[in-house]
Symmetry: C2
Subunit: 213 residues, 2 copies
């Protein structure tokens, strides 16, 4: 894990990831330079926050932090280095239901995804042996063996609320330190494990507040 | 929209939604009372933040804000009132691909969901007329008519990046003021529209930083 981890908040990492996405899109459109004003107007970036975010990392000197124009390629390289996007990472996914299938399919269709789902597991006998794109669903009992073989950095949990904690424990026991959890329960993990939650029920619920007119 | 909207941040709303989920789970387990300590230990709640969050709303008096023990049912009712969870809301979803299908299916299986997806649209002739659970996929040209008929509060965008802005514009033109967008582009919306983004590519990318060991 990079040195900065402890000092840099998750929101900074989220925004840095967002900046890198914008720059990649600009690069595919052959944009060589981008001004701070354009970033603000076209992508809704907050310039002050953008500069503060960059300042969290040792990659940028004072002169760069106040620049009004950036070379897309150069800035993107720095962001990629900070975020660790230079090397591909491997994930395994547990739970071959609708959400798991959608995510695996989506991941296979993304050409340049840095995270690649390499193996999918489920305990449903009707699912084991069937395929999502090019991946065959394996029984959960095979997780330890597959982890040893492919050494994935990331575990994705798309099982029901009832089994999410058990699956998280299994992944952690097998040495996986970064988890992405789609179940809508509070999953307990040890301090050295990074857990990211995407709770679709919660996201829907949040909308309710804003749609009460 | 409730009066508080402008003063209360999205993070408060997100946490309030999370508290309501916890309380609902306790209620299904017939728990009548819960202590602040239990909320902290079992669900990872930060007590100080919890009290500060409640204090953002007029529903709670000073005495309640310092309570160490809550009646589950009473607290849940107040949270539901604040979040507007007392009445069901209707959503339409545009984009019947993998993510859209997963989300619709997931929504139909959730018995007590306050947001119900009522209609699904796509422009792919192979998808139009097919069903996701009980919902038949309709052509996007039918959006204005269906919006008039069922008057949905929420629009969910699960189309490709290329068409997301166009779909957002269509939903807004038809009077929908709350959008949930799964495309990974910056969608422009007028100030009076509430836009919530769930960008799966970005979520995966964020994981990279933490898995660089």
């Amino acid at each position: 894990m990079p040195k900065e981890t402890k000092e840099v908040s998750e929101s900074v990492i989220k925004r840095m990831s967002f900046y890198s996405q914008i720059l990649e899109k600009l690069k595919t459109k052959d944009v060589e330079f981008i001004s701070i004003q354009q970033l603000e107007e076209k992508f809704g970036l907050n310039v002050i926050r953008f500069r503060k975010d960059l300042a969290c990392f040792g990659e940028f000197n004072m002169q760069e932090l106040v620049m009004n124009q950036w070379e897309v390629d150069k800035l993107l390289s720095k962001l990629k280095k900070i975020l660790g996007l230079n090397k591909k990472q491997k994930a395994i996914l547990i739970g071959g239901g609708r959400i798991g299938t959608a995510l695996t399919d989506f991941n296979q269709k993304e050409k340049n995804s840095e995270v690649k789902i390499k193996s999918v597991f489920d305990n449903d006998p009707e699912k084991i042996g069937t395929k999502i794109g090019e991946l065959e669903i394996k029984p959960v009992s095979k997780v330890p063996q597959v982890v040893k073989e492919i050494n994935p950095e990331i575990g994705i949990i798309t099982v029901s609320n009832q089994t999410a904690q058990q699956v998280a424990d299994l992944l952690i026991e097998n040495g996986i330190k970064v988890l992405l959890n789609f179940a809508s329960i509070h999953v307990e993990v040890p301090e050295e494990v990074y857990l990211q939650n995407i709770d679709l029920t919660l996201e829907m619920r949040k909308l309710m507040y804003y749609s009460n007119s």
